[in-house]
């Protein structure tokens, strides 16, 4: 098992999209571990932030054009042996904040309350890594709980270049705050090598991501990759230390909730041997439906099934 480092710079990122035809930034073997150093940022903040911005990020801004979405994705990583139809298990071994700054912004026509906030605003947020808190001078300090908002494998080739904005079968902009250190995410694989990319570090976020941003910031993530030929899934699923997590994505939350519920019942039937009727009742009694995000066009609901009841 080998260990690699991938530090985001102009040679190994794609900005705002996923694409199965991208050349790999790194090739690894099944079982290897990669430490990703990711960047988040906006060109218009460089003046305000001054030398708090890394030279690599400046370099990315001057050599790349943003396509579709906002996310600076590090990758893709080609995993030897991964074939279409397999499942990629990504084991999140560690997540650390990378910089002492992040930001939160909202803007017209997007976010959870576009009618109430028809203007742009961005705040720079100071990150105190030692105390584990973030502060932007509003009188409250929020605890840091970092995770990656956007990661996944390449979409099917037939999709071409797709925006990094929605969550989808390949992962993408899931913005699921449960994906912290100790969580495993399972992605269906659509291309040989899987072609995994990661970005969109969030210092913290509430369920829902109400205004369209978490604390957007650079993170350092240590991921172990395994190719699972024994599994078959249609949508990403996850397993934290305490829960099985199932996800539904749809422009309408009511539909996303149904998808997450169906995924949970499917798992209870196939992996736990429950009759579907009992699985449905168990969902009503013990599974928590939570709003992942309402701001990515395709909204998200995730279902939390506690492992302790088994």
């Amino acid at each position: 098992m080998s260990n690699y480092e991938l530090i985001a710079d102009k040679s190994n990122i794609h900005w705002g999209f996923y694409d199965a035809s991208l050349r790999p930034a790194l090739t690894i073997n099944d079982g290897d571990t990669v430490v990703f150093y990711t960047e988040s940022g906006r060109k218009d903040l460089v003046g305000t932030l001054g030398d708090r911005v890394s030279s690599q990020l400046i370099d990315i801004f001057s050599h790349h054009e943003q396509a579709f979405g906002a996310h600076i994705m590090t990758g893709p990583v080609f995993i030897n042996g991964a074939k279409e139809g397999d499942v990629l298990e990504v084991n999140i071994k560690d997540i650390q904040t990378r910089y002492d700054w992040g930001y939160n912004g909202f803007r017209p026509l997007v976010g959870g309350l576009p009618d109430d906030f028809p203007y742009s605003r961005v705040v720079i947020i100071d990150i105190d890594k030692e105390k584990g808190i973030a502060d932007w001078g509003a009188g409250v300090k929020v605890p840091i709980k970092p995770f990656f908002g956007n990661f996944g494998v390449a979409p099917p080739k037939s999709y071409g270049k797709v925006p990094s904005t929605p969550p989808a079968a390949w992962g993408g902009n899931t913005d699921n705050k449960e994906f912290i250190t100790g969580t495993k995410i399972f992605f269906p694989i659509f291309n040989d090598g899987a072609l995994f990319s990661v970005g969109d570090g969030h210092g913290c976020q509430g369920d829902g991501e109400a205004n369209i941003n978490g604390i957007e910031m650079g993170l350092i993530g240590t991921f172990e990759f395994k190719v699972r030929k024994d599994l078959s899934i249609n949508l990403p699923v996850a397993e934290s230390e305490t829960h099985h997590i199932f996800m539904g994505f749809d422009p309408v939350l009511d539909n996303a909730a149904k998808i997450a519920l169906r995924e949970t019942i499917h798992f209870l039937k196939n992996s736990k041997g429950l009759h579907p009727d009992d699985a449905y009742t168990l969902c009503s009694l013990a599974v928590d439906l939570r709003v992942t995000q309402i701001v990515n066009g395709y909204k998200g609901v995730h279902a939390m099934l506690p492992k302790s009841i088994f």
Partner: protein, 316 residues
């Protein structure tokens, strides 16, 4: 100060079955600070032969002699609160909630529930409640921990609405089915008619966020609840406060709309209570407000937002 303690046990003369009514007369009146011990029964429209073996004589009395209107929930009340006037806020504190019986049930039926297309038939199961081990079980091999709360409670709705079904949540409370309303939580209701006229029932032994299949562990509960009347504040919809969180609620047939109401309620609260700027409050919601699906099965669906009280320790 001495508060009086009343006991209110559900029977055919002490419940409103299926509705909230702004013109209903109170069973009795209490003062701010008083405690009432309610003994509630799960809602059912008939007692079939399987149920007849286990239900209380009081529940048989309700089903045989009570008058059901509009919905199905059996609500103890109404309890009048002395000096409560329209425009006040009624705080109802859950001091203690215990399962009343060693049984409950769960049920789904066609055309309702979270996945009506997948489950187009009726099913009801009796579920055993083990009070000592604090779990319930219906022989699936997966015992589920109890976390009891009242699914349905509220004040009388505004006069102009007349009698409303107990099936939906609304500004008066009603069928909120919010699993956060466990022991120690205070729920705050806007008062619409003099005396507030509070009713409570629909015990749930446990429930997941969403109440996926239509019903939870429907069971009888014993609750000790304390009433406080607040004059210098106003509310449009109920909110709550647990030991750890402020809880905001939104109700709408479409979840996407319900969630907007919740974020708006949270922002309004942050601006009024903590004098935050509206823009900062919106950012704080994005970073710290946890939006959860309360229930998807009551026609009018629910979303609630949890905001940790620990964020404000330095500001209080």
């Amino acid at each position: 100060m001495e508060f009086s303690i009343n006991k209110l046990i559900a029977n055919s003369s002490t419940v409103q079955w299926g509705f909230y009514d702004p013109e209903a007369k109170p069973l009795f009146n209490v003062s701010s600070g008083d405690i009432v011990e309610v003994h509630t029964e799960p809602g059912m429209r008939e007692v079939d032969s399987e149920m007849r073996e286990i239900v209380s004589p009081e529940l048989i009395d309700i089903v045989e002699n009570g008058e059901r209107k509009l919905g199905g929930h059996i609500l103890n009340g109404p309890i009048g609160i002395r000096e409560a006037l329209a425009g006040d806020v009624l705080e109802v504190k859950m001091l203690e909630i215990l399962p009343r019986y060693n049984w409950g049930f769960n049920r789904f039926r066609p055309l309702s529930g979270g996945l009506p297309e997948d489950f187009p038939y009726e099913r009801r199961i009796i579920i055993e409640i083990d009070k000592e081990k604090n779990v319930c079980d219906w022989e699936t091999g997966v015992p589920i921990p109890l976390s009891p709360f009242f699914g349905n409670m509220g004040v009388a709705p505004p006069l102009n609405l007349g009698k409303v079904t107990s099936g939906v949540p609304g500004p008066w409370g009603g069928n909120m089915d919010n699993k956060e309303f466990t022991e120690g939580t205070s729920v705050f209701f806007p008062v619409f008619v003099d005396g507030a006229q509070f009713s409570i029932g629909d015990g749930h032994g446990c429930q997941g966020d969403g109440e996926s299949c239509l019903s939870a562990l429907e069971c009888g509960l014993i609750g000790k609840i304390q009433f406080f009347l607040h004059r210098n504040t106003a509310l449009d919809v109920p909110m709550a406060e647990s030991s750890s969180d402020y809880i905001f609620m939104g109700f709408d047939p479409i979840l996407d709309n319900a969630i907007k109401s919740v974020i708006r309620e949270a922002i309004k609260f942050l601006v009024e209570r903590f004098e935050m700027k509206k823009d900062d409050a919106y950012t704080l919601c994005s970073l710290s407000l946890d939006l959860r699906v309360t229930q998807i099965v009551n026609g009018t669906k629910g979303v609630h937002g949890l905001l940790s009280k620990s964020l404000f320790e330095d500001m209080n």
